[in-house]
């Protein structure tokens, strides 16, 4: 199941309606839905933030293979930014040393089971999987 979404935060409502339809059809449980939606939002909004002026839509693909959810986001208009190389966040720092931002990739890696990044000819594809058992 695949759909393209406009490059704006306002697409999130439409994205969550799309994922809900898929999760209902595939009988995906609440905990897995939450984590998958979380990762999808973080990855999608990153693609939006780093190229707000882009005109191309971002494609979201969802599939279930046995007990594994496979998600892919494709941005055909992007600069290289390998999210798998982002250093971990030190979550033990006190509030005085914490600033808003910088948690999205850290949290995405926490809630998914595997994540892959690919960039070629200006096109970024990020795939993640979530075990549904």
């Amino acid at each position: 199941m695949e759909q393209a979404f406009q490059r704006t935060f306002d697409s999130l409502e439409e994205i969550f309606a799309f994922t809900q339809s898929f999760f209902d059809h595939e009988s995906v449980g609440a905990e897995h839905r939450h984590d998958a939606n979380f990762a999808i939002e973080e990855l999608f909004t990153n693609m939006v933030k780093y190229n707000r002026s882009g005109r191309s839509e971002i494609r979201l693909s969802l599939a279930r293979v046995d007990d594994k959810l496979l998600v892919s986001l494709t941005d055909p208009e992007s600069e290289p930014f390998d999210i798998t190389k982002v250093p971990p966040v030190d979550i033990q720092r006190p509030i005085e040393e914490r600033e808003p931002g910088g948690l999205g990739i850290h949290l995405t890696r926490k809630v998914v089971d595997s994540i892959e990044y690919r960039h070629k000819d200006g096109c970024t594809t990020i795939k993640f999987s979530k075990n549904l058992r």
Partner: protein, 98 residues
């Protein structure tokens, strides 16, 4: 959908999804809060990193004035996100019963 308001006991009530599209609405509301406050999260389904940023910005501002925000009725999914962020050390949290 995301809603934020003040409940009957003076607590902040939030419901729906606090995502990147709703962060500005939440921040505008919370910028008007002073002192200490309780946020009842019973109706809150989801918080993304954009929502965490709103809450952190608010907590820092309130703590600078000697106050703080306490979150109650936090669902297990959101509680996990707080733990993964280290925000369970920054906010007083009460999880939802059951």
């Amino acid at each position: 959908m995301f809603e934020i308001g003040i409940g009957k006991q003076g607590e902040i009530t939030v419901a729906g999804r606090l995502d990147a599209a709703q962060a500005e609405k939440a921040q505008s509301f919370l910028d008007a809060i002073d002192g200490s406050a309780v946020m009842d999260c019973a109706g809150l389904e989801y918080v993304s990193s954009a929502g965490l940023g709103v809450l952190l910005r608010t907590q820092k501002r309130l703590m600078n004035g000697g106050g703080a925000i306490k979150l109650i009725n936090v669902n297990p999914h959101i509680h996990n996100i707080f733990r993964y962020s280290g925000f369970d050390h920054i906010f007083e949290l009460e999880t939802a019963a059951g």
